[in-house]
């Protein structure tokens, strides 16, 4: 079944078309953005330098209230090796009709940018959003060449309707998971630790209030709180690994959302300076399995980039 692809950007002409910028050198970015010698600048730069041990570049993400979701979605489409089995199950398309105790709220789901022509209600639209997420994810994973995959991602992440519909699909999956987890708590079943925090807040004691007071505002007037990042990772069965630069030198420098499935859930890497805005991390590429040696036996592919007087070397052997 062909999915109609909305190619036109929905953003005003004056805005940057691309929702995710091209990769740029991490260290150059850090030096440019954080000049000066305040304690904060030094800490953030140090955080970027530690991140640069493992990651080559960073991709800036459009800084609106969707950015945590957008960064995660981009990594999903850009880096994922496979689509999880649960997403491939045809049953999930029934979820928007079947979510218990919040059915009326789902029926009033708010989408950015209004609707496509000739649509049914919110529930049908959410079904389409889930279908779109699944087909785009499959398409991404099946790309043979990285260049092809990059092209596909860039096409989507240009403020297109597809992009925003997939972001709303992610929100729906979070709601669905919250309902499942809350149901489990009521039955006295074991749930991940973060659930206790999620439902401990006065403003979100149950999925209804969680949705009304928090989730429905994501993208519009608010972003994701940290406990909601756990829910996002859990909903997608991905480990969202975040380098939190204002936490450099502490145990929370790298935080995993969630942290209890690191070996078995694929890892998506993001970076944040403040837990508000998230950018994307691009790993050092495995261009080849080995390094070429010159006549005297020295590796020609010495990391890192020559753009700074190096104090830290990483050598590929």
């Amino acid at each position: 079944e062909q999915e109609r692809q909305e190619k036109t950007s929905l953003l005003p002409n004056s805005e940057e078309k691309s929702s995710v910028a091209a990769p740029e050198c991490l260290l150059s970015y850090a030096r440019r953005e954080w000049k000066g010698n305040t304690a904060k600048s030094l800490l953030i730069r140090k955080g970027y330098e530690a991140t640069a041990w493992v990651f080559e570049s960073l991709r800036r993400v459009r800084g609106d209230n969707y950015c945590a979701l957008r960064a995660t979605l981009f990594q999903l489409l850009g880096q994922s090796r496979k689509v999880p089995a649960w997403l491939q199950d045809p049953e999930i398309l029934k979820w928007p009709k079947q979510v218990q105790c919040v059915q009326d709220l789902v029926a009033q789901w708010r989408f950015p940018f209004g609707s496509r022509d000739g649509e049914g209600g919110a529930v049908e639209r959410l079904e389409r959003c889930l279908k779109l997420l699944r087909s785009r994810w499959l398409e991404a994973v099946e790309c043979v060449h990285p260049a092809e995959r990059e092209r596909m991602c860039q096409q989507v992440f240009e403020g297109t309707l597809d992009e925003y519909e997939m972001l709303e699909a992610l929100k729906f999956l979070m709601l669905h998971t919250a309902v499942q987890l809350h149901g489990a708590i009521s039955k006295g079943l074991r749930v991940p630790e973060f659930c206790w925090l999620l439902f401990a807040r006065d403003t979100s004691k149950c999925p209804r209030t969680f949705f009304t007071n928090h989730l429905r505002h994501v993208g519009f007037s608010g972003g994701l709180e940290q406990v909601e990042m756990f829910l996002l990772g859990y909903s997608l069965q991905q480990t969202i690994q975040v380098y939190r630069l204002y936490k450099t030198d502490s145990e929370e420098f790298v935080t995993y959302y969630p942290d209890d499935h690191k070996p078995d859930w694929p890892c998506l890497s993001l970076v944040t300076e403040d837990d508000r805005h998230y950018n994307i991390l691009v790993p050092k590429q495995d261009k080849q399995l080995y390094s070429k040696f010159d006549e005297s036996g020295r590796s020609k592919m010495n990391h890192p980039s020559g753009s700074q007087a190096q104090k830290q070397h990483v050598t590929r052997l």
């Binding site: 140090k46 973060f194 145990e251 935080t255 995993y256 590929r316 052997l317």
Partner: protein, 125 residues
């Protein structure tokens, strides 16, 4: 959530034998190293002690000789074929690992337990 206070972080010693892969004139190990006494230890995301100037494995190529041998990102290399690696420069470490007349390198590494937040993340996917 990423750190449980009071949990001990224990080290495990592993012996890793890497069969270098020959590709024409090149001998491939399939991993990258960081650190050395001439490097800035404060930037090392894998070390517990930020003054540790040891040699650390920063990345392991998936399916490569080091991966096959069981080397893991974040491992600290203590010895290579009997040579100490705890007090060497970055370049000395490189040389000890890439001797052209050696097809095999036997490493002694220490590896932290799974509570270590940073290193576990670097596993290739």
């Amino acid at each position: 959530m990423s750190y449980i206070p009071g949990q001990p972080v224990t080290a495990v010693v592993q012996r890793i034998e890497i069969q270098k892969l020959r590709d024409g004139d090149n001998l491939i190990l399939g991993f990258s190293i960081g650190g050395g006494i001439d490097q800035d230890p404060g930037q090392n995301p894998f070390s517990e002690d930020k003054t540790d100037k040891g040699i650390y494995v920063t990345r392991v190529s998936k399916g490569g000789p080091a991966d096959v041998a069981g080397l893991m990102t974040g491992d600290k290399i203590m010895q290579v074929n009997g040579w100490d690696m705890t007090m060497v420069t970055h370049d000395q470490a490189r040389k000890r690992l890439t001797k052209k007349n050696e097809d095999v390198v036997r490493l002694l590494v220490t590896r932290k337990s799974l509570e270590d937040v940073v290193r576990q993340s670097m596993m290739p996917h």
